[in-house]
């Protein structure tokens, strides 16, 4: 009887147990399905065309240059109906990077995607690699409920000196400047912390400049003197300019010019350099001395300089030329040429030609384009000592001569370079000049006449014109206006209202004057001008002085003297 009861009870319990099991299955369906059904992932990979060892610090920093230089970018999409769990992505480059996990994804829902950017950390010894080689990047994807996946792609690792100027595919290039899309990475060749460059800088400071304080005093003339000191160091050590062009190369569908760029330590000790190599050397030394170096790129050429107090300075580093190249320029001549080229550079920029680029090295470093690390080398130090012996012969640096009349591109120098030093008088009035005194004061050539302006713009207080009608000076006062930019916009609106155009660019600060460079025109002619405004009388006051485009450089002295006398 008891046995019959037990049998009946077992049968009656079976149904509720099945119900409970069914409920558990419904409740925990997702993990249970995951145990029996696997997820499928779809992978899409975009990768860099090559690896350049010189920029290894950029590759490892996901914030560098907005993350533009990842080794690869991968889109992982779960295209199954099952949630993928504990997905892990790892990568390796045999011989360079050991297998390393780059991302863990706890949960990847059906149809969900994740973007995986790979920023690999190469060992510092990669900068010892001097020749290119073909390698493979291996990627592995694993997960709790998916079959292991492996992806691989070939990649060339360049030698440490090789630099590829663009990674943009040829059919995506839109403007000539994009052939040099990687110019910011040039900053990675600037090595101010290289012990050899530090040593070289010390020798320049000691033997050529006999002491300097450019970065401490923050005086442009000291900066220019330093620039001349570097030039003399290259000059006296009989360094020569050696020209070579980049080699067009094809890497993973990218057509680019690839150039072998020697490191600054190699340029110094090898006593020969290309324009870009000399520019990088200057930038390294300037930066080591605490200045703000820049490198100007123009079509087919590059030259160095520095930025101070909103002004830009340049020197033609290749002026060292060589006996085989028809002579050598002195530091002063190289500086004059550099400042002249800088004027041309500014024009190129104003015209919107994107081949004219400036690399602000400190800015690039701030954005993550860090220099490679290099070890000390006793042999190279000895080479520097040998070079420094030639420094004792004395250089051509004459700071006063170099600075006179050349106070930087922005206000005082309008591209004409050093004009003989007669513009260096900044306190007295040059002979033959008259003075204007108002909200601003300045001296102007006595032959210039005051004429009635052809506009009813009330803010224009005075118009002076040179007898040939090719140079103009306008005095403005803008009551209630808060900035130089607002002031120039008022003029711009007036010009536009009359059917003309006015383009401008802010050009920094000089003292309490804000500087603006620009061009205005209409009816087939145009005027290149520079304006300087300062706060005055509850608004802004200042002058604009310029010449008719194509009138030649005959007015450079006058304009420089006017600007130098502006108070």
């Amino acid at each position: 009887m008891k046995a019959i009861h037990q049998l009946t009870k077992s049968k009656s319990i079976l149904f509720p147990v099945v119900l409970m099991l069914l409920g558990a299955v419904v409740l925990f369906r997702k993990p249970l399905i995951g145990l029996v059904s696997k997820a499928n992932l779809e992978i899409k990979i975009e990768h860099a065309p090559v690896i350049m060892p010189a920029v290894y610090k950029v590759y490892e920093n996901e914030d560098a240059l907005e993350g533009k230089y990842s080794l690869f970018k991968m889109l992982v999409t779960n295209n199954s109906n099952t949630t993928a769990r504990n997905v892990e992505i790892s990568m390796e480059i045999p011989g360079y990077i050991d297998k390393k996990s780059i991302q863990k994804i706890p949960v990847l829902l059906p149809d969900q995607s994740v973007v995986v950017n790979c920023y690999p950390a190469f060992d510092q010894k990669i900068v010892e690699k001097t020749t290119p080689s073909k390698e493979r990047v291996n990627i592995k994807i694993t997960g709790s409920n998916l079959d292991d996946m492996e992806e691989t792609f070939p990649i060339e690792i360049k030698g440490r000196n090789e630099f590829m100027y663009t990674f943009i595919p040829y059919d995506e290039i839109r403007t000539p400047g994009e052939f040099f899309d990687n110019n910011t990475l040039i900053s990675c060749f600037v090595t101010p912390e290289d012990p050899i460059i530090k040593y070289f800088t010390q020798k320049i400071q000691e033997k050529i400049l006999k002491g300097e304080a450019a970065s401490v005093e923050n005086k442009p003339e000291e900066g220019v003197r330093f620039l001349g000191g570097i030039y003399d160091a290259t000059y006296l050590s009989h360094m020569v300019y050696s020209g070579t062009s980049g080699v067009p190369s094809q890497d993973n569908g990218i057509s680019s010019v690839t150039q072998s760029i020697r490191l600054p330590r190699e340029v110094v000790t090898g006593k020969t350099g290309l324009c870009i190599e000399l520019s990088i050397l200057y930038a390294s030394v300037l930066m080591n001395a605490g200045l703000d170096p820049v490198i100007y790129f123009i079509p087919g050429h590059a030259y160095p300089g520095f930025r101070m107090k909103g002004q830009y300075y340049a020197i033609e580093a290749t002026g060292i030329g060589g006996e085989g190249m028809g002579g050598r320029a002195t530091a002063q001549q190289a500086f004059e040429t550099g400042m002249k080229e800088l004027g041309e550079f500014m024009k190129g920029v104003q015209m919107g030609d994107d081949r004219y680029q400036v690399l602000d090295v400190r800015e690039a470093i701030k954005n993550g384009a860090l220099a490679m690390e290099l070890k000390d080398d006793q042999f190279l130090r000895q080479k520097i000592d040998e070079l420094a012996m030639s420094f004792e012969a004395g250089g051509s640096v004459n700071p006063n001569a170099m600075v006179a009349g050349n106070t930087g591109n922005g206000m005082s120098n309008t591209g004409g370079g050093n004009t003989g030093g007669n513009g260096g008088n900044s306190s007295g009035v040059p002979s033959g000049y008259r003075t204007y005194n108002g909200a601003v004061s300045f001296a102007y050539p006595g032959s210039w006449q005051s004429v009635s302006p052809s506009t009813n713009l009330q803010q224009l207080r005075k118009l002076l014109v040179d007898p040939t009608g090719n140079a103009y000076l306008e005095v403005y006062q803008f009551p209630g206006v808060q900035s130089a930019e607002q002031a120039i916009r008022i003029v711009q609106q007036d010009v536009q209202a009359k059917g003309g155009y006015l383009q401008y660019a802010m050009a920094g600060q000089s003292g309490n004057f804000s500087l603006i460079k620009g061009q205005s025109g209409g009816g087939g002619s145009s005027i290149d001008w520079v304006a300087a405004f300062k706060p005055a009388g509850g608004g802004m006051a200042g002058i604009a002085v310029g010449t008719v485009s194509g009138a030649g450089g005959g007015f450079q002295n006058s304009i420089q003297n006017i600007l130098n006398s502006l108070r």
């Binding site: 409740l27 907005e66 889109l75 706890p106 994740v114 995986v116 607002q486």
Partner: protein
């Protein structure tokens, strides 16, 4: 893995306004920019940028970008190298000097190990306001070479989002987190599962009461 909504917006500004397009034509008043970011249930973001330009800006924009929308797309992609962007759409109202750019950014938010969705804001103290469980408003002003930009950003979370809040990551930066409700089907399954278990338990209990062992 950083999916940074605010940075997206800043990039758009730099690309579309203060880049090479309008370098000489700058506004005196602030330029208004509206940005809508709609997150879907898979963490992808539909981004819509609407900008109203003044006369000179519009002129410059049309000259440099507005008539070459493929270049607009290219510039946006170049400016946001970490993202996968797709479904670009461009439209404009010339009479109102307004343009609208739409796109989809994949994986703008992701699920963390606790099953919570996270969208990183990359800012320590953003001026963000919760409007309701699925909507946030963020005001940001930027000044640059093109002048002053007043940006209003609205972030719309999926309709089933709950417990949304601004949290801080290990570095003190703001992160928008939310949980996904799973939808009505998921609720139905969960309810059905619980009911089945309860029903089974009840039947066992009743069976034990009415059949004493003899």
């Amino acid at each position: 893995m950083k999916h940074n909504i605010i940075r997206i917006c800043i990039l758009f500004i730099s690309i579309l306004l203060i880049g090479k397009y309008v370098d000489a034509q700058e506004p005196i008043k602030g330029t208004k920019q509206k940005l809508d970011i709609k997150m879907d249930e898979l963490g992808n973001a539909d981004i819509t940028i609407t900008m109203k330009l003044n006369a000179s800006q519009w002129d410059m924009f049309k000259r440099n970008a507005g008539n070459n929308t493929s270049n607009l797309k290219r510039e946006v992609e170049k400016g946001m190298p970490k993202y996968y962007l797709k479904d670009f759409k461009y439209s404009e109202d010339q009479m109102e000097r307004t343009y609208k750019l739409e796109m989809n950014a994949l994986a703008a938010a992701y699920v963390d190990k606790n099953g919570k969705w996270r969208a990183e804001l990359d800012s320590k103290d953003p001026d963000i306001m919760k409007i309701n469980e699925t909507q946030y408003k963020l005001d940001a002003n930027f000044s640059g070479p093109a002048g002053f930009i007043e940006q209003t950003m609205q972030i719309y979370l999926p309709s089933n989002a709950k417990n949304s809040k601004i949290e801080k990551d290990s570095f003190g930066k703001a992160v928008l987190t939310y949980e996904s409700g799973g939808g009505w089907l998921s609720l139905l399954f969960t309810g059905a599962g619980i009911l089945l278990i309860l029903a089974g338990a009840a039947l066992i209990f009743l069976e034990n009461r009415k059949s004493p062992v003899v």
